[in-house]
Symmetry: C2
Subunit: 218 residues, 2 copies
């Protein structure tokens, strides 16, 4: 009687293969241009199986965004939970800079390499036609990571390692947005013909230095 939820039936290996193929094709072609036939072929699966697992093209797309986001979010949350030293152990300002460089570098890498960036563009351009998409993206991604980063930065301010105006601390997630904005936009400017790795490190450092220049205790 109780119909099994379509997300929970079928062979999980095939399900995985479909998600992978769908990510590839959606990212290469865009949502509209991507055909379910092409995805099924790429996954070595029949079209009907795709529909069995995900209902329709929209359901498939949302499942893809969830999967790709989850991977990055796990990485980022772990980074902040275990990859950042206790403020008490940061003695000199050089320590702080090094720790921020590492954190920001890994964060930025998780966001701007791999499939996440491009998928975000896709979601952005499709959001007008699938209103729930933008909300879902936010709740599943930035809605989880930014408050965590902001908490971490706020603790640094409370510990006296950063000198941040109360007006900034009072705005939800502002500090986190400022740090990621200043590195993210710079990293996004990297052109294909450049040496990505070298540019990446330089630009993350630039962003962190800009941030520190503004909020370093004098």
């Amino acid at each position: 009687m109780t119909a099994t939820a379509p997300e929970l039936q079928g062979n999980p290996r095939k399900r995985r293969a479909i998600l992978d193929a769908a990510a590839t094709v959606f990212l290469r072609e865009g949502f509209t241009r991507a055909s379910v036939d092409a995805i099924a072929a790429d996954a070595n699966v029949s079209k009907q199986t795709v529909y069995n697992h995900f209902g329709d093209k929209n359901g498939l797309f949302m499942a893809v965004t969830d999967a790709v986001q989850d991977e990055a979010v796990l990485r980022i949350m772990d980074l902040m939970d275990t990859g950042f030293p206790d403020p008490a152990t940061l003695t000199g300002p050089g320590d702080l800079r090094a720790a921020l460089l590492r954190l920001t570098g890994e964060w930025t890498r998780a966001v701007y390499t791999g499939r996440l960036v491009d998928l975000r563009k896709l979601v952005d351009s499709e959001a007008e036609h699938h209103p729930e998409l933008r909300e879902r993206w936010f709740a599943n991604g930035p809605g989880r990571t930014y408050p965590r980063l902001n908490r971490l930065l706020t603790e640094l301010a409370r510990a006296g390692l950063l000198d941040v105006p109360d007006a900034v601390l009072a705005e939800p997630d502002l500090l986190a947005h400022q740090l990621t904005a200043v590195t993210g936009t710079d990293v996004r400017q990297i052109r294909p013909e450049m040496d990505f790795e070298a540019e990446f490190d330089r630009r993350v450092a630039r962003g962190v230095d800009f941030f520190l220049r503004a909020y370093e205790p004098r």
Copy 2:
């Protein structure tokens, strides 16, 4: 013998109407979903006329991006040519902040209100399929405005009104990117349910203050 270039023939009033309609429909539907039929209908023009003027759907889309960009770029260039006071007349630091607020506010308004923002998203998502698009967008927009803004900010640094490390000054357009990044990303977070005007001013001010906090002479 010499065929007239398709961009230069036909009734300019109709041409304008088509460009307007195309902007509306492309922005509402996205490139792929937008149909030439819908655009022609919206412009009160026959489909054939659209093809007479712009050749094909791609040509139409590029003409639209050019037109929308040109409008904003003119505004922004004018702003910097005539809307910013001579550094010599800026005596107190309050003067500098006020001038930067005005400039950055108008710049940001030109970029993040109206059709430019959304068109940019569209270009971004279509760029994979029309490689010349990204380059054209850059050359026609940021390629013109950023060097100009950077020159202006560099003059402020030379005049002693900003204290910017040489390493930053040495990077092409970096200073300009930092200023616009820090305001732009914050403004982009404004949610539809918020009071746009109030949020806009606050966020531009935040960005300028962040920038000044980093580069204000001590």
